[in-house]
Amino acid sequence: MAALPAKLGVVVTAPLVLLARAVDPPLRWWQRMAGQGGMAAVFLLPNLAIFGVFVLFPLALNFVYSTTAGTDILLQGRSFVGGAQYARLLECRDYLDPLTCREDTFWTAAANTLVFVVLQVTMMVVVSTITALILNREIRARGFFRAVFFFPVLLSPVVVGLIWRWILQRQGLLNLVMVSLGLEPEVWLNDRTYAFAATIGVSVWAHMGFYTLILLAGLQAIPKDLYEAAEMDGTRPARVFWRITLPLLGPNLAVVLVLALIRGVQIFDEVYVLTGGGPGTSTLYLTQYIYEVGFASVLRNPGLAAAASILMGLVLVVLTLCQLWLSRRGEAKGAK
């Protein structure tokens, strides 16, 4: 039985092996011509070419798009308008009320995203910290329970959205629970507050396992002798937690916080499938705004979408720099 996968592997990789043999002679010639530096270029070329065409060039092009207007996606059909798209996005009579802004959906989406991120990240950090602490205890079948909390992380966002749409629908599982508890059933996703809460709960449900793993790794890296010393001194468990566990978990908590922020700001897939941004605009977040303005709406405006995505990108750059700084600091600490 074990031989079958091995044989299958040979069959699958056979063309690749042939290919690898075929490219050897020309590359040997190139190596003689260009030396080791030339070979480095050969090895880097495919990845950098794809990077360049599909990441770096679009990145630069994004700025060009954000200064043009029109519905045409091709650059030739667009007119240069300078900073007009940014001005349109940022024009507001009262910055505390999204409805007074010229581009009110953008501000609604931004405000929604802000509230969503604050609540979701808080909940995410709290829930995954508790879970990691519990998984770090001396429990039976730790591997199994770690896997349990990790399971939803692998599910596709579309599947996550559909699972919960099915549970939250009028005749769904949640209403069954409500009725059996003697409460009134609700059409959850038709209510603005419930729908908003659902997007938070579902995204925490889907991603907490990932952050739990990072925190668990951090907990397991705390030297055991610290706890032994505390036990010898008869330190109360609460004090051990506040004085040993939490400070030493700090770097991991910071990484989790920033990662969750970065991903929270970009939330789209599961929410789009779950609520579609509704009811009304109550669960409309930034990425969906960009998607709809740029692609989905009848009067699409790629320039406006590009400008909005650059504003969102700036937030992400700041957050990512925080992450790099934190992880580098963590590495430096680990090296000591």
């Binding site: 050897d24 190596q31 880097l44 679009p58 599947v159 559909l162 599982l173």
Partner: protein, 351 residues
């Protein structure tokens, strides 16, 4: 029973004394298991129910099927009901049609007499049965087989290209000294800051210009040059001793052979982790395929599912079944390879 309880209640250390935190632990783990697996299991159970049963409230836990009988004089099989008689008796009748709150029914053993029955007095006779049609129908009649194939193609191709290009770049960045190496590394790390959602518009225009719109390659290519992949593989290849490479050079191995015959096999553990990640990423991708693919023949499963779920008249019985199909590869990865992923995340913090 008592032994089970004492087994569950027993704990290590502390001389078996109970503390309130033990109760919290236990509740959290049991509740967590129900909450994490429950929704997916509920989906799987629901996916085997027929459309009529899905519309019921309260829903049953297991899928049932209405028993039908063939009655003389009727072409289609009729659903069988248990009808309460006047003196506490019950009899089994088949329903011909429903008129308001009354049902016109017939006794299968006496097909000529029609009876009028109040619908409140009858209960359907059902047995546990799987509505496999939910699975067969979308795969055969709708386009789901096509979506499935597209998803498999995208996942396999993208993963192969990712492994090849990322490992080549990682090899150059870990084993060669050349001018600009740090700059290239910095560039790659910097692209971590450019998620897809930030460059949607210009990327669409690039894909459009290269003629890849509405093609699966337009989905594959922008995703394959993952900075995380290069980073992960480079970190691993740095641990491969340079002496091995030098020895091979002594034996007149070409640089390409060194990469292909020595470094790649030695980096197999890291490649395996990246392969698993890539499969899960590409299988689950949604936003980018949604934008690039506008013709139904090119849809991946995720886009197809979203389209069917977004229709005015949502056919839940098909959608639930296809959601289960979409879950299968990921569940397989979870069951067999979960350990690789969890150690990969704990070690490198990637996702």
């Amino acid at each position: 029973m008592r032994r089970v309880v004492s087994f569950l209640a027993r704990r290590r250390g502390h001389g078996g004394r109970w503390h309130w935190t033990d109760a919290v632990t236990w509740l959290w783990l049991v509740g967590g298991t129900v909450l994490m697996f429950g929704p997916a299991l509920w989906l799987v159970a629901s996916s085997f129910k027929g459309p009529a049963q899905l519309a019921e409230f309260p829903p049953t836990l297991l899928p049932y099927e209405q028993i039908v009988v063939q009655v003389e004089g009727h072409d289609a099989p009729l659903p069988l009901y248990e009808v309460a008689g006047p003196h506490g008796t019950t009899r089994q009748l088949a329903e011909i049609r429903r008129i308001g709150t009354n049902a016109q029914m017939v006794d299968p053993t006496d097909p000529d007499t029609r009876l009028n029955v109040d619908i409140a007095a009858r209960t359907p006779i059902r047995e546990i049965g799987l509505a496999l049609d939910n699975y067969v129908q979308p795969l055969v009649a709708n386009d789901f087989l096509r979506f499935l194939w597209n998803s498999v193609f995208v996942t396999v191709m993208a993963t192969l290209i990712t492994l090849l290009t990322n490992s080549m770049a990682a090899f150059a960045l870990s084993k060669y000294r050349f001018r600009g190496r740090d700059a290239v590394m910095l560039l790659i790390v910097a692209t971590l800051m450019v998620p897809l959602s930030v460059i949607l518009v210009p990327l669409y225009s690039v894909v459009n210009a290269t003629g890849l719109l509405d093609s699966l390659w337009g989905v594959i290519l922008p995703t394959v040059a993952t900075p995380t992949g290069v980073f992960l593989l480079r970190q691993y290849m740095l641990t491969i001793p340079d002496e091995l490479l030098e020895a091979a050079r002594m034996d007149h191995a070409s640089e390409w052979q060194i990469y292909w015959r020595i470094v790649l096999p030695l980096a197999a553990p890291a490649l395996a982790v990246l392969a698993i990640f890539s499969v899960v990423w590409r299988w689950n991708d949604f936003l980018w395929p949604l934008i690039v693919l506008s013709r139904r023949e090119t849809y991946t499963l995720q886009v197809g599912l979203n389209t069917y779920a977004g229709e005015l008249n949502v056919q839940w019985h098909y959608i639930l079944a296809m959601t289960v199909v979409t879950m299968i590869p990921v569940v397989l990865v979870f069951v067999f390879l979960q350990r690789f992923i969890t150690t990969g995340i704990a070690g490198a913090g990637i996702k």
